[in-house]
């Protein structure tokens, strides 16, 4: 009965209000296409404004021509018929944001997809927003540890950086991104995994994996699966960005994974072709560059004066046959601050993560690398570069001089040590200890197939005897001479 009383009270209040005279912008649906409707009227509607159809279905204006308005439908577009009335709402698309999002799976409109309670929120963040300007930014200096040896040592990523993960299908792109999320445990980084046009089964597996590793306590999943309309797939990364901005504005560091932007470009292409926008190369519209640049530009590191906080973006691009010079890959490569290039051949020959070190770069992350890692990584890079130069000669091993043989041996061992099992991120100190052993020649005499065993042994010993050492390196992020000597002792104990 209480509920009914409340209902009646609200009704009474509603009815007591004298009819307010307010003008509305209205229009009529003239065409309904796949996920896109064309409307007549709505003379004073703005780009990006929301329009309401009957049954509370919303639309989002993305096309304004001389006498027509094009809008994408957020939700079920089959209920809309030609001749239906539409009303402009006078505000742009925003998503509800709050702390309650953490641990949840939401769609492109911020509505829960995981069957749990509605997300309570008082704040709305606009889905499309101009990125922070030059004044508010700060250079990238703080590292974002991915927990993957080859990335943290050779292609370091900093907080606020945009690092592209690029490769063919099945080369472990998502695995790298998810490992990076798993490694943020206890790092005070909010992680957002944005799935665009993925299979629902794959997303479910990732959600399960995050939960199993306790990563759901600091992560949000935004899902626009392949079954969703292209409009929802188009909006998903911007929604993820808006959610990220909410946490960034509170001074927190955020990591967003866009998986993947190839499918996002496809969704945008489909919409643009239906709207009859002129098609360019590969039938993408002219603004396909701006599509991704305005999204990735929203990744930034805000100056402390303006509240601090950062958004690190890990966009993923899928290539065909390793072709990095296709249209969308080159675009996104030029937008981002570096790329991690994955290759099928390396993957099949057992080098996992299958990172092609030669093609991968990090343009700003070097400044963000910790001193401890810098100390070991410098030598490692040199070893690998020399190995790559000489690798072609490795078949004629008997005819080579001692010096060359040494380089080849070291290179093979370093390549071996950079392999890592999936979903097993390592802490900074663990990484440093293994890489230190490799670059100081403690692996040179071991056969290649025993290196993995050595690694597990070393990590076990460190966990048993070197707990203090690990804690010290993880805390200070510096490795001095004494630390080196301590580590040397432990390594000698094993071998």
């Amino acid at each position: 009965m209480k509920l009914i009383d409340e209902y009646l009270k609200t009704l009474e209040k509603e009815l007591k209000n004298k009819p307010k005279i307010s003008t509305e912008e209205t229009g009529i649906v003239s065409q309904v296409k796949d996920g896109v409707v064309i409307l007549e009227g709505l003379d004073r509607v703005a780009y990006g404004e929301l329009i309401e159809f009957k049954k509370n279905v919303l639309g989002y204006v993305i096309d304004l021509t001389e006498d027509e308005v094009g809008a994408i439908i957020l939700g079920d577009y089959t209920s809309i018929a030609a001749g239906d009335k539409a009303k402009a709402l006078g505000y742009t698309l925003s998503v509800p944001v709050s702390e309650g999002l953490i641990g949840r799976v939401v769609d492109s409109l911020g509505l829960p997809l995981d069957g749990k309670a509605a997300i309570k929120s008082k704040t709305l963040y606009p889905v499309e927003k101009i990125a922070a300007g030059v004044v508010k930014r700060q250079p990238v200096k703080v590292p974002l540890q991915t927990g993957i040896k080859s990335i943290d040592a050779l292609i370091p990523i900093g907080r606020g950086q945009r690092e592209l993960i690029i490769g063919d299908r099945g080369t472990g792109k998502t695995t790298i991104a998810v490992d990076a999320i798993l490694n943020q445990k206890g790092e005070d980084v909010v992680c957002i995994y944005c799935a665009i046009g993925q299979k629902n089964s794959k997303v479910a597996a990732i959600v399960e994996l995050l939960k199993k590793n306790g990563a759901d306590k600091y992560s949000v999943v935004v899902n626009a699966p392949a079954a969703d309309s292209v409009a929802m797939q188009y909006l998903a990364p911007y929604t993820a960005s808006a959610i990220g901005e909410y946490f960034m504005d509170k001074g927190q560091d955020v990591l967003i994974v866009y998986d993947d932007l190839t499918k996002h470009a496809w969704a945008h292409r489909q919409m643009s072709l239906i709207l009859r926008r002129p098609a360019g190369r590969e039938a993408y519209p002219g603004d396909v560059f701006y599509l991704h640049s305005r999204l990735l530009e929203r990744a930034c590191r805000i100056d402390k004066k303006y509240g601090g906080g950062s958004i690190t973006a890990l966009p993923i691009i899928e290539t065909l046959d390793g072709d990095l010079s296709a249209y969308i890959p080159t675009n996104v490569i030029s937008i981002t601050d570096g790329q991690i290039s994955l290759e099928t051949d390396l993957f099949n020959s057992g080098i996992r993560p299958a990172i092609n070190v030669g093609l991968s770069v990090s343009r700003v992350g070097g400044n963000a690398q910790t001193k401890a890692m810098k100390a070991v990584a410098g030598k490692l890079k040199l070893d690998l570069a020399q190995y790559r130069d000489l690798a072609a000669f490795s078949q004629f091993e008997s005819e080579l001089d001692e010096e060359t043989k040494k380089f080849l041996n070291r290179g093979a061992k370093v390549t071996q040590i950079l392999k890592q099992k999936k979903n097993k991120p390592l802490s900074l100190a663990e990484q440093v200890s293994i890489l230190w052993a490799a670059s100081n020649g403690y692996l040179d005499k071991l056969p290649v197939d025993e290196i993995e065993k050595f690694e597990t042994k070393l990590l076990e010993t460190l966990k048993l005897k070197g707990k203090k050492w690990l804690e010290k390196i993880n805390k200070n992020k510096i490795m001095d001479e004494k630390d080196g000597k301590d580590l040397e002792k432990m390594i000698k104990d094993i071998s």
Binding site: T10, E14, I21, E24, G27, G41, D43
Partner: protein, 94 residues
């Protein structure tokens, strides 16, 4: 078929003119025929609209009250409009 560009241009401007005229025309939908007094009250209340060319129509579906349309602008003062607003409010309370 080739069309003389000048003809095309003239036709376009003629049509645009027509559309413009139509757009500024006031259309009034009411549930029943409006009396002279009621029209006077309307003219006073919305004095910024051009009432000389006003077009009156009857639309039973709005139940009661009036709806005024000028171009794509709509002023909804009908019972049907308030009822649908109410149903929206109820939907949101739930």
């Amino acid at each position: 078929m080739k069309i003389n560009p000048k003809l095309k241009k003239d036709l376009k401007s003629f049509l645009l003119d027509n559309i413009h005229k139509e757009q500024n025309q006031v259309q009034v939908f009411s549930a029943d025929v409006l009396g002279v007094d009621e029209k006077k009250v309307l003219g006073k209340k919305f004095s910024d609209l051009n009432w000389s060319q006003a077009h009156y129509q009857i639309d039973r579906s709005i139940i009661a009250g009036i709806v005024i349309k000028v171009g794509s602008k709509t002023i909804d003062l009908s019972l049907m409009g308030s009822l649908s607003k109410l149903s929206n409010t109820l939907y949101e309370i739930d």
